[in-house]
Symmetry: C2
Subunit: 510 residues, 2 copies
């Protein structure tokens, strides 16, 4: 006999325990933010102890057998019910808690601790190896990490390819084969398109970006823009860190960071728009469901779609700057007094093959990602040895960009991700770009006068649309379902390529 | 049979559990600091939940029966041993953990939760009552708090007076009768001494303190002074809050705050010295014993002695300003260009009966405390009803200062302490002043050339002496023992009165 009281009691009790783990994680979130912003130097040792303790308590609570028992009972009760009698939020919560629980309990505590220790030390080794330009210094660490990530994939279990087990942590439901074919199509169009741009005789004057941009003015201007696109400073902050990030802590507390370069406009400003995009997503998740999947972001790909949408589709668009350029000229009279909007727009949209991913433009960025994805899959599939990475990296750089990195520092040692054990993370960046273009394409179809609003500095209807279509659902849908639901189509490279062609053909006169 | 392995194993295991509760509390410390400095407005609700959860987990761990069992076993083993075979650190740890454990387990969880809820709501009621100058708005809350604090005293148990049970939380070992006789002697000398000052024809020119003191310069100058007296900014920070505080979080992380008034020098500067004094104590507790009594401050009285010593005994002294006044003139040329050191020293040492405790000078401050102590003891002893507080308050103000508060806002509603349930807290402020004078008297006896060092901005030997005599012992000694050990005498009002007489007789030409 299915008793709805039983079910309701079980769900309440399960949710309370899960929320408590989330609350502990949110405490660690503040400690992590503090560590990177204001913490005094000598606090480092005990900060590690504090965060370690909170992580352990949260993990212990999350993996306790009572959670498993409750999940089993609830799932059994669900099976006896009509699917339509279960709320979509409850369905999402139970499905995703169960997924995370099963992943967590499959990994023995000793393995988790060993991996945490290894990646913590590996980050130090990576930093040093990069500074000294010595891949050999990082190689043994990466070899160990790859071995452990393969072991993790075995423990968790997977179909077809061990990489799928890792992907699943960042982009639930994504697979090597689906990403491979998506990326192949993208690459096939992207490489010749890039060639056209490179061969164009029109070049932007990027000197205007490297004039004097006083930091205080940058901060005011960046905050103004973040606020205009919908980041709520009553529920968030903007601070300074070496490596910018967005940390969604609790409803009402989302913190973004940037770094200011007084001689380069792009670094802080587009970084702020990017992190504010992440932040707007976090700030508009359903706060009633805080701590549960129904109140959490879907995946890294969808998260990145929000940051990229505001940073690039909006932040590097003509209508955006029709509103903001006069304000920028007022904020930076010395740098921009003699600059035209046309020259400005071209300069901030320069396309140029380059060695460093984080500095790459909208066209070349995804080639950096495809390169890393191909390497990661080959390494996990044991088709490539760690020691051969530098060689393959440079071959692919030549093939994709026509460039050969002069050093591993500017090549395979540039990113922190592998040292953190984040294999499977990179592809979500490009998924984010593709989602962003496909969502924006749909929004424009539904809101044909949107650009006129943007020219007035009014981004409210776009933000509202994103909240209605994406944010408010939490994890109710997987990213692929959400994409179908919003756009009526599976994720494709086409809207993105169409966006690039339209935009850059004009700029580069192709 | 006493096995030293048993004992060592028990101590290790006990310490590990206690350290874990301290580590949880230190996480809450960061969250509390953040709440008062940088937290966005809308984060308040979940910040309460976060801190509440950490407090609950810490309390659960601390009061678990295993702790009691271990304490019992260890104490039994201690009894079989020669007292000299037990390290002083272990002795202090077991004694103080046991004391705190017994206090904690005597209070039922429901009582603790009810008191926390009551005082949380009472703070809101107090704020409103103070703003509206309506004692009646606060009276029912204070009545409930007093009732609960009496109940707390009953639950904990006490000798002679229920107030002793409350005092014991802030100043272990102190009693109503000892403080009463100490304060009576102090008051007897203080009141006529104040009369002499009030009747003096010499008056300082305090207008010089209310000139333009740009905030940025105040911050730089305050930090410079804090650093000079020994506050370590690699292990600490200085930020801005409405209500200044010092929060010792972990070894290597002690945070102080202040507030800047661009038209009044004293507010931030002496506040910084005060909080830095607390901070220097926190920064020099034995870090090996972090999380245990042997690594913690003795009592509020001793803590306050450290802040008062640096703020007043040093920070308002001639030698200090012989070094710092030229620097102040450079930092604030507009305000101080035409001011002499003599006039400056007199101005920052103005003595004047006033209504507000936190603005009081060194002479009158303790009369404010004595007044509060007498009221608290009478309320706890049921000799005074809450509704009669305003009348008695004003009578005593007349008696001590010759002043009648024009409103309860400027009278019995001025302090937050009672609304927080902090009955028993006030007397530690005056104990701190007396300890500071007695310690400083001793230091000067042992270091007759110290003033020459201070004139050079060299405070290292004083700081070292405080570390050697006080900080490094953690809670090895009770405050009364420590006082005996350092000065060879019990705590007395005499060194303090002698200090006041010497200093103010010169300034006021008595």
């Amino acid at each position: 006999m299915t008793s709805s009281t039983d079910l309701s009691g079980l769900l309440t009790s399960l949710y309370q325990e899960i929320r408590e783990t989330a609350l502990l994680n949110s405490c660690a979130g503040i400690l992590g933010w503090d560590e990177r912003t204001y913490m005094p130097k000598n606090a480092a040792y005990y900060r590690g102890e504090q965060i370690g303790l909170l992580a352990r308590l949260s993990h212990e609570k999350f993996t306790s057998p009572q959670i498993g028992e409750k999940l089993n009972k609830i799932e059994a009760l669900f099976k006896e019910m009509n699917a339509t009698d279960i709320s979509l939020f409850d369905k999402a919560n139970v499905r995703e808690i169960s997924r995370a629980y099963l992943r967590a309990v499959k990994l023995p505590g000793s393995f988790v601790a060993e991996l945490a220790k290894t990646t913590s030390e590996a980050q130090g080794a990576w930093q040093q190896a990069r500074a000294e330009n010595r891949f050999e210094g990082f190689e043994p660490w990466l070899t160990k990490i790859v071995k452990m990530k393969r072991e993790e994939a075995q423990l968790i279990g997977y179909n077809e390819h061990p990489y799928n087990a890792l992907l699943d942590e960042y982009e639930p439901g994504a697979t090597v084969s689906s990403i491979r074919s998506l990326f192949a199509e993208l690459r096939q169009e992207l490489v010749p398109f890039l060639q056209n741009i490179v061969q164009s005789k029109r070049k932007p004057n990027t000197e205007i970006l490297t004039r004097n941009y006083p930091v205080q003015q940058q901060e005011l201007f960046g905050k103004q823009a973040a606020e205009k696109i919908g980041f709520d400073f009553n529920s968030g902050r903007l601070d300074v860190t070496t490596h910018p990030f967005c940390s969604g802590i609790t409803p009402g507390d989302c913190r973004i960071t940037t770094r200011y370069n007084p001689k380069f406009f792009n670094e802080a400003f587009f970084g702020i728009l990017h992190e504010a995009g992440h932040g707007i997503y976090e700030q508009n998740l359903p706060s009633d469901h805080f701590g549960l999947p129904a109140g959490s972001a879907i995946s890294l790909g969808i998260h990145e779609s929000q940051s990229r949408l505001w940073e690039n589709q909006i932040g590097r668009s003509l209508p955006f700057w029709q509103y903001f350029f006069p304000l920028a000229q007022t904020a930076f009279p010395e740098a921009l007094g003699d600059v035209s909007l046309t020259d400005w727009l071209f300069a901030i949209n320069e396309v140029k093959p380059s060695l460093i991913r984080v500095e790459a433009d909208e066209v070349t960025y995804n080639l950096h990602i495809i390169l890393r994805f191909e390497l990661e899959v080959a390494i996990l599939g044991q088709e490539l040895n760690v020691k051969d990475i530098p060689g393959i990296w440079n071959e692919k750089m030549k093939e994709f960009f026509g460039l050969t990195p002069p050093s591993n520092q500017l090549g395979c040692l540039q990113d922190i991700h592998w040292s953190m054990g984040g294999l499977g993370y990179f592809p979500t960046y490009t998924l984010g770009n593709l989602f962003a273009a496909q969502f924006m394409n749909q929004f424009k179809l539904e809101n044909i006068t949107c650009e006129q609003q943007w020219q007035q500095g009014d981004f409210a209807s776009l933000k509202k649309w994103l909240v209605d279509k994406i944010h408010r659902f939490g994890q109710q849908y997987r990213s692929s379902e959400l994409c179908q639901q919003i756009t009526g189509k599976d994720l494709s490279h086409k809207p993105f390529m169409q966006y690039l062609r339209e935009k850059f053909s004009k700029l580069y006169d192709l």
